[in-house]
Amino acid sequence: MSKDIRIKKGLDLKLKGEAAHKIADTTRSKVYAVKPSDFHGVNPKMVVKEGDNVKAGEVIFYSKADEKVKFVAPVSGKIQEIKRGEKRVILEILIAADSQDVFVEHSKKNPNDLSTEEVKAHLLASGCWPFINQRPYDVIANSADTPKAIFISAHATAPLAADVEFVLANKLEAFQVGIDALTKLTSGKVHLSVKGKGKSIFSDVKGVSLHQVYGPHPAGNVGVQIAKISPINAGERVWTVTPQDVAIIGELFLTGKFNATRTVALAGSEVKDAQYYNVISGAAVSDLVAGKIEGDNVRVISGDVLTGAKVNMDGNLGFYSNTVTVIPEGNVYRMFGWMPFASPSVHSASRTGLSWLMPGKKYAPNTNLNGEERALVVTGEMEAVMPLDIFPMQLLKACLASDIDKMESLGIYEVAPEDFALIDYTNTSKLEAQQIIREALDLMIKEVG
């Protein structure tokens, strides 16, 4: 039985620079990167050395905590450099790409013919396991667990996020095979959430419990859907996978290859002719954006403006990103910017600006903090953008105090940092809510596990 998901609380940010529904190829980058920081909590143990030749899909490191979880090269080439930071932490593994990829060949398999253990082993060996994330804690799934359900959100509501239905329109076959594989991994159901309005291309997908989603962002966040369908209790595990990653998993079973190519929306107010591009994970930022952005005082974000990671112009895209957003930097002073009802070009969800009178207006926000961090004074504003059945301010305070009992009773298991992204955006005190939640989850992993 499917269940519709309707939320009222939230906020749709309307930004300039939405990607047009066109796909183009990009030039192949000279260097691709795999960044362990994309995999939160993973302590990498290297398998390859600088100078080694690798095939696309060949293991380059694994997780020290769970040796079965392997991470593979997105392209074939030579390990150019293993960049290290403070305390020899591995920052990036740079691969100088061959002109054409040579893939590690796995055998073609039909997941319907395989047992749970065989599917698991195949995903782990091929490097597809990191696509599977776990709630609570928002980290890569533990391969020893059996989750109570798997959730896939095929409706992206974040500002300027890639349109899932457009991106996967030609990959439905692979998507279905990916779903078939995932259904083997859970004792419960695979839940697929799609946009509520109009007919979805996913409505004929088999083997899933289909849900239609209505409402403003964060309706598309998988955490909101989990809370509405089957909230996480203490001790339970659910897994989440993003739709493009489901298709990559499906392709592995269909072709025997790990193909890290994904369709990425290049969007944002500073992008000329924003549209979609086919890119291999870890591609150089400059190859994607060169000649396509205006001005030079910009920030390139691998991901959306609310949850993405800042990347340097000479850096590389992240492992999971389906969106790359370019917005102006906000390192400028704004005279009397604090005055109520002044500066109409800066959006405000509160009614102390004029935005609420112009609901259709699109904005081109920069990265300015629009104020300074202050004590928590205003109440009720966090609740307005929090559709989950939790008390956000009380939970954040419990997190700040590292009060584990309270965090647990207030629902820390049900949240991920992205669920607090809008609170980052709207809160008057400029509190870093996502960071607080991330640190609290890390504490829970350490103390409770």
Binding site: S343, T352, N366, T428
Partner: protein
């Protein structure tokens, strides 16, 4: 404009990290941020942020206070001339200027003492100056009698800021509303200057035979009320500087509710609570105060001012949505109850709000506990299903 920015940057040089006056940076930053929103960019979390900040929120409250303040200044002059000048009123500007002459020094003293302490604590603690006092500093003179001596005002402010706020950890941590705490301190420390019939009209103490007492004061003594409901609503009555005109306060309430800065839940439930309680007493009707019409209860004294500007202080009020409604209802109930049953202190709204400030965390505790219990029940059910 670039010239001005460059100049400020130049002035700020010695206050930068590692420089001579580094410790005093919060003070200079506080002044700079009044001219410019700083060039700070996001480092963690969401890359874009809302235009709203604490400064904008607080200034919105100050804007909402302006109508009540302007009327309060005029009324200070009006009461002076109507009572001491045999009812002969000079031109409008003279009335206003007399009021301004009385009220402006109170505002200056309040801001000078309060902000001085806030800046000192910010420098001492090494954090930025919070904007909370912008509102408290204006509220305090508005809840005092017009003839309240300035030195007493200064001490009340110092008490409220140091004991009421900084001792608890500063802005956002205080249990009591600082402005009300200043008033309560003044009331108990200097009772003769905070009640009676000589202090509500400026210079009344210089002339004998002036009945400048407040309506609630005279009611408590069993006297007749000499004002109509309309006079009470418009505010041409004796009382604390900013509290008399319900009309001006309603304009402020409109600003607070329209901008979402003040909680309409607290305001509405407060009025409902007070009206219901007053109606109940009207029905019993044993004393003059019990018989005082419920509509008049809402427009007289500090009730409207308290419920719009004091009860809605987000730090000392209940913080949950359900909690706000309970909090407001109880403030309304206690305000009227204290008025009716405590002739020694007829104005109940101050004590009602302070009382509810102490109870607000308890209300929130029970509201949040509902959520916790729901989660526990869900867990128990899941466990039961699993074992079955």
């Amino acid at each position: 404009m670039k010239f001005l920015r460059d100049k400020i940057d130049q002035i700020k040089k010695p206050f930068e990290k590692g420089q001579k006056f580094e410790k005093f940076a919060p003070a200079i930053n506080a002044l700079d941020t009044f001219l410019y929103v700083p060039n700070h960019t996001t480092k963690h979390g969401a890359h874009i942020r809302d235009a709203v900040d604490l400064k904008r929120t607080m200034i919105t409250v100050v804007l909402a206070l302006v109508p009540a303040l302007l009327f309060g200044i005029y009324n200070a002059g009006y009461q002076h001339f109507i009572q001491l000048n045999d009812g002969v009123l000079p031109p409008f500007m003279d009335i206003f200027l007399h009021g301004l002459w009385k009220v402006l020094p109170m505002i200056i003293v309040s801001y000078a003492v309060g902000l001085g302490i806030e800046f000192a604590f910010a420098i001492f603690r090494g954090h930025e100056v919070n904007e909370g006092y912008l509102v408290s500093g204006l509220l305090i003179p508005m809840v005092m009698p017009v003839d309240f001596p300035l030195w007493m005002l200064a001490i009340s402010v110092a008490f409220a800021v140091v004991i009421g706020k900084e001792a608890f950890g500063g802005t956002g941590m205080n249990v009591f509303n600082p402005a009300l705490l200043a008033r309560a301190f003044a009331f108990f420390a200097y009772p003769t200057f905070m009640s009676g019939d000589k202090i509500w009209v400026s210079d009344a103490s210089t002339i004998d035979g002036v009945s400048g007492e407040t309506i609630l004061g005279s009611l408590a003594q069993g006297k007749e009320v000499a004002y109509s409901t309309m006079e009470m609503f418009l505010g041409f009555i004796p009382g604390s500087v900013g509290e008399t005109s319900v009309l001006a306060i309603l304009i402020g309430a409109f600003v607070l509710i329209a901008t979402g800065v003040g909680s309409w839940k607290i305001m509405v439930s407060g009025v409902v609570g007070a009206a219901a309680t007053a109606l109940m007493f009207n029905a019993v009707g044993l004393t003059a105060l019990m018989n005082f019409d419920w509509v008049n209860h809402l427009v007289v004294g500090g009730f409207a001012f308290g419920i719009v500007f004091m009860a809605t202080d987000p730090v000392s009020a209940a913080q949950t949505d359900k909690g706000k409604i309970i909090y407001g209802l109880l403030i309304g109930f206690f305000s009227i109850t204290i008025r009716v049953f405590n002739p020694a202190y007829p104005e109940g709204v101050m004590l009602a709000i302070l009382l509810m400030n102490t109870l607000a965390p308890t209300i929130d505790y029970f509201v949040v506990n509902g959520n916790i219990t729901k989660r526990k029940k869900r867990l128990a059910k899941a466990k039961q299903l699993k074992s079955a």
